[in-house]
C-alpha cells in the first residue's frame, strides 16, 4: 500500500486536534519571514526545513537548535533553504519555540499485520531505538491501559520526580495516548504516527517533532 508522510507542521496540526500538546511554531517562506516569526515567538528558537515527505531531518542536518537572536535565525534560514534537494523546492522553514526538558518520551501509532492498530509509548530522544524501551497496546485502549503502559516501561522511574523536576503528569501522558488511539479510530487512512520527542517540561508535555504517515 503506497503511503505519504505529512509535513511536520501538518502532522502536528492534526495531532493537536486530538489533544496532543504541540510546541508553538509557524511556517516561514524565507529569512525575513523566519526572523519575524522568531521575534514573535521569542528567543531562543529552533528552525527546521519542513515539507511533505521530509523525514530524517537530523540525519540530513536540516535542524538548527537554540538560535539566540535574529542574525542567527537569518543565517540558519538561508543555510537550510540552500540545503533543499532537487525535489524539495516546496520546502519551507518551520520556526519553533525551543522546548526545554531533561526527559524525552516517544509516542506513536502503528498498524500491525496481525493485531492491527496499536499505540506505543517509550523512552524517547536520540537513544530511543537503541534502548528499545517501548510498550504497545491495542486500540481501543482504556485509560487504565494507558496508565499501565507507563508502569510497564523498563525506565518507568523516569516519570517520577527527577533531578529537581516534578513527576510527569501521568494524566497528561494518558491523554496523549488516548488521543492517539482516538485518532487511529477516526482517521482510518492514518498508517502510522511518530511523536518523538515528546519533551517533558516541568510536569507537562510538549511534542516537538512528529510525523504522520497516511495512505496515499
Amino acid at each position: 500500500m503506497p503511503t505519504r508522510t505529512l509535513s511536520e507542521f501538518e502532522s502536528k496540526r492534526l495531532l493537536g486536534t486530538y489533544g496532543v500538546p504541540t510546541v508553538e511554531e509557524a511556517l516561514a517562506v524565507d529569512e525575513d519571514a523566519a526572523a519575524g516569526v522568531a521575534a514573535k515567538i521569542g528567543f531562543p528558537v529552533a528552525v527546521k526545513l519542513c515539507a511533505e515527505g521530509l523525514a530524517h531531518k537530523t540525519e540530513r542536518n536540516l535542524v538548527r537548535l537554540g538560535l539566540a537572536d535574529e542574525p542567527e535565525v537569518r543565517a540558519a534560514a538561508a543555510d537550510l533553504l540552500a540545503l533543499r534537494g532537487p525535489g524539495e523546492r516546496d520546502a519551507v522553514l518551520l520556526v519553533q519555540r525551543m522546548a526545554r526538558g531533561r526527559r524525552e518520551l516517544i509516542a506513536g501509532l502503528v498498524r500491525d499485520g496481525q493485531f492491527g492498530r496499536c499505540v506505543m509509548l517509550g523512552i524517547g530522544g536520540i537513544f530511543a531505538e537503541v534502548l528499545g524501551d517501548v510498550v504497545f497496546r491495542l486500540v481501543p485502549l482504556s485509560r487504565r491501559d494507558a496508565l499501565e503502559m507507563m508502569d510497564d516501561l523498563g525506565a518507568s522511574r523516569v516519570l517520577a520526580p527527577f533531578r529537581g523536576e516534578p513527576a510527569v503528569d501521568r494524566g497528561a501522558v494518558a491523554a496523549v495516548l488516548l488521543g492517539l488511539a482516538r485518532l487511529s479510530e477516526e482517521r482510518r487512512d492514518v498508517v502510522s504516527v511518530d511523536v518523538n520527542p515528546l519533551i517533558v517540561t516541568g510536569s507537562s508535555l510538549v511534542a516537538v517533532d512528529a510525523l504522520v504517515e497516511v495512505e496515499a
Binding site: A55, V110, F115, C118, G122, V135, F136, S192, D194
Partner: protein, 490 residues
C-alpha cells in the same frame, strides 16, 4: 449447543475409532491403540485394519462401515492422506462427530497437501464435525482416561489444560507434570489447525468445569484480534499462561518511522499479553510452574511477601530475587516480630527475611508459618529449605551405624518434622487464603525422590519449587494476574 457439548465428542467421547491400526508396533495407528488401551479409556474402542488382522489381541474392523452406528464419537485418523476425506464422510454416516487427524502430508507439505487439507475441512464442515489437526500428535483427556496420542507421556490427572502448536511441547509439558505431580486435564496438539485452532480450544477450556488454568504454546496467531478477544474472555475468568516461539522482526527493516522500527512482533505481542492479562512466560519450565501454581495456590491480594527460611543465604538470595521481580519484601511488622521473639532465641534475624538461624525447636516452623500467613500485612509467604532435616537424616540412615546409637529415633524425628512442615505450609495457605510456596533444590537433587519434605508437598497436590528464584518467578505471575484482575474489578 454449549461449547462444552460441542467439544464433548473430542474430549469426552463415548467411543473411539482408530484408522490405520497396523500390526507393526512401530506404526502410529498401533501406538494410538496401545496408549488408549494401556491408560484405561472406558469407552468403546474400534480399531480399523485393512486386512482385519488381530492387533494387541483385539479384533479389528476392515472398514469404518462395519463399525456399529452411534457407538463412537471420535475418529482418530492414521491412514494416508488420499483416503481420509472419504473416511471422514463415512465416519459421519456412522455417527462420528469429531476427528483427530494425526496423518501428515497436508498443508505443511506443499500445494497438493493444502488442497487435501481444504477437502478435509470441507467434509468436516459439511458433516458438522469437529476437525483437529491434521498433522497433530494427539490429545489427552484425563477425566475420560483417554491417552489418544502416539507418544509419551500420559500425565497425571489435574486441572491444567493445554493447546499447543507443537506436539512435542505437549509431551514436554506432560513430562514436567509427571515429575512434579500437578497434573493435566485436557491437552491437544493443534497440528495444522485446519479447522480448530488454539482460540477454539481456549473457548472450550474456559467453559470446561475440569479446567482451572490453561496453557497455550503459540508460534503464530492467524487472527490477532480474534486471539486478543478470546484471551481477554478467558482471563476474565481463569488464568492463561502463554509461551510464544518464533518472535521475529519481520517487516521492521521496511518501516520508515521510529515507531515502526520499534514495533517488533514480539513487543506488540508483549503488549497484547499485558493488556489481556495473559501470563507470558519465556521457557517451558516457567510455563509449567506458573500453570501449576495457578492451579494449586490462591491468588494473592497484593505483592507484600515474607521470605521464611530455617537458615542463611537462601533468604538473602530470595529477597534479592523478590526485589528484582517487583515484589515487596515487606518490613517485618512489630507485632509479628514480638510474636516470633517469644518462640526463638534472640539470634533469629528479627527482620524479613525471617531467618531462624537454626534456633527452632519442635513446633517453631509450623507456628511461624501460621503467624506469617495470618498477618494482614503479608500477601504471600516463600518458605525455603524444606527437606534439609531429612537430607541429613538420610546420611545417618544410609551409614554404617544405623539404626543403633539412637539413629533410628532421630531419623524418624527429622523425617516426621519435614512432613509436618509441608503440611503446615499447606494448612497455613488454606486457612488464610494466601499463597505459601515452598522451595528446595532437593526436589530434584535428591534422585531417590524419597525426601519426606517435597514428597509430602507432592502428596498434598502442590509443587516444590526447585529454587527460590523459580518460586519467586511463579509467585510474581500470580501477583501480576491478581493485580490485573483487581484493576478491572474482576
Amino acid at each position: 449447543m454449549t461449547t462444552v457439548e460441542r467439544f464433548q465428542p473430542l474430549f469426552q467421547p463415548r467411543g473411539v475409532v482408530i484408522s490405520g491400526v497396523s500390526t507393526h508396533p512401530g506404526k502410529w495407528g498401533f501406538l494410538f491403540l496401545h496408549h488408549i488401551l494401556r491408560f484405561g479409556y472406558e469407552g468403546r474402542i474400534f480399531a480399523l485394519n485393512r486386512e482385519g488382522a488381530e492387533v494387541l489381541g483385539r479384533r479389528t474392523y476392515r472398514s469404518i462401515d462395519d463399525v456399529p452406528a452411534a457407538e463412537a464419537d471420535l475418529l482418530i485418523v492414521c491412514t494416508p492422506t488420499g483416503i481420509n476425506a472419504d473416511l471422514l464422510r463415512r465416519a459421519a454416516a456412522r455417527g462420528v462427530r469429531a476427528a483427530f487427524v494425526a496423518a501428515a502430508g497436508y498443508g505443511e507439505a506443499g500445494d497438493d497437501g493444502k488442497e487435501l487439507e481444504r477437502e478435509l475441512v470441507e467434509v468436516a464442515n459439511g458433516a458438522g464435525m469437529l476437525l483437529a489437526g491434521p498433522n497433530g500428535q494427539g490429545l489427552i483427556s484425563t477425566p475420560a482416561h483417554l491417552c489418544a496420542q502416539m507418544v509419551a507421556p500420559y500425565p497425571p490427572p489435574g486441572r491444567i489444560s493445554l493447546a499447543s502448536q507443537s506436539g512435542n511441547l505437549v509431551s514436554s509439558f506432560g513430562n514436567y507434570a509427571a515429575m512434579a505431580g500437578v497434573g493435566v486435564s485436557r491437552a491437544i496438539s493443534c497440528g495444522n489447525s485446519a479447522q480448530l485452532g488454539v482460540d477454539d480450544y481456549l473457548d472450550y477450556f474456559l467453559d470446561d468445569p475440569e479446567t482451572s488454568v490453561a496453557f497455550a504454546y503459540l508460534e503464530g496467531v492467524r487472527d490477532g484480534r480474534r486471539f486478543f478477544d478470546c484471551a481477554s474472555r478467558f482471563t476474565a475468568r481463569k488464568p492463561l499462561v502463554v509461551l510464544k516461539g518464533g518472535a521475529t522482526a519481520l517487516g521492521q527493516a521496511a518501516a520508515s518511522s521510529h515507531t515502526g522500527s520499534l514495533a517488533s512482533d514480539d513487543r506488540i505481542f508483549d503488549g497484547v499479553c499485558r493488556q489481556a492479562g495473559i501470563t507470558r512466560c519465556e521457557t517451558l519450565e516457567e510455563s509449567y510452574e506458573a500453570a501449576a501454581t495457578f492451579a494449586t495456590q490462591p491468588l494473592p491480594r497484593g505483592r507484600r511477601v515474607v521470605v521464611f527460611t530455617a537458615a542463611g543465604g537462601w533468604g538473602v538470595l530470595c529477597a534479592d530475587a523478590c526485589v528484582r521481580a517487583g515484589l515487596e519484601v515487606v518490613p517485618l511488622p512489630e507485632d509479628l516480630r514480638r510474636s516470633i521473639d517469644a518462640l526463638l532465641p534472640s539470634r533469629w534475624s528479627r527482620a524479613n527475611p525471617v531467618d531462624l538461624a537454626g534456633g527452632e525447636t519442635r513446633d517453631t516452623i509450623p507456628t511461624v508459618l501460621d503467624l506469617l500467613a495470618a498477618h494482614e500485612s503479608v500477601d504471600a509467604v516463600l518458605y525455603l529449605g524444606i527437606g534439609i532435616q531429612s537430607a541429613n537424616a538420610a546420611l545417618l540412615k544410609t551409614g554404617p551405624y544405623y539404626p543403633d546409637h539412637g539413629l533410628d529415633r532421630i531419623v524418624d524425628f527429622h523425617e516426621r518434622q519435614d512432613r509436618r512442615y509441608a503440611e503446615a505450609a499447606h494448612a497455613a495457605s488454606e486457612k488464610h487464603g494466601k499463597p505459601v510456596l515452598c522451595a528446595s533444590e532437593l526436589v530434584y537433587t535428591d534422585r531417590t525422590g524419597t525426601n519426606p519434605g517435597p514428597q509430602t508437598i507432592g502428596k498434598i497436590g502442590r509443587i516444590t519449587y526447585p529454587s527460590a528464584h523459580r518460586a519467586v518467578r511463579a509467585l510474581t505471575h500470580l501477583v501480576r494476574y491478581a493485580a490485573w484482575r483487581r484493576a478491572r474489578e474482576l
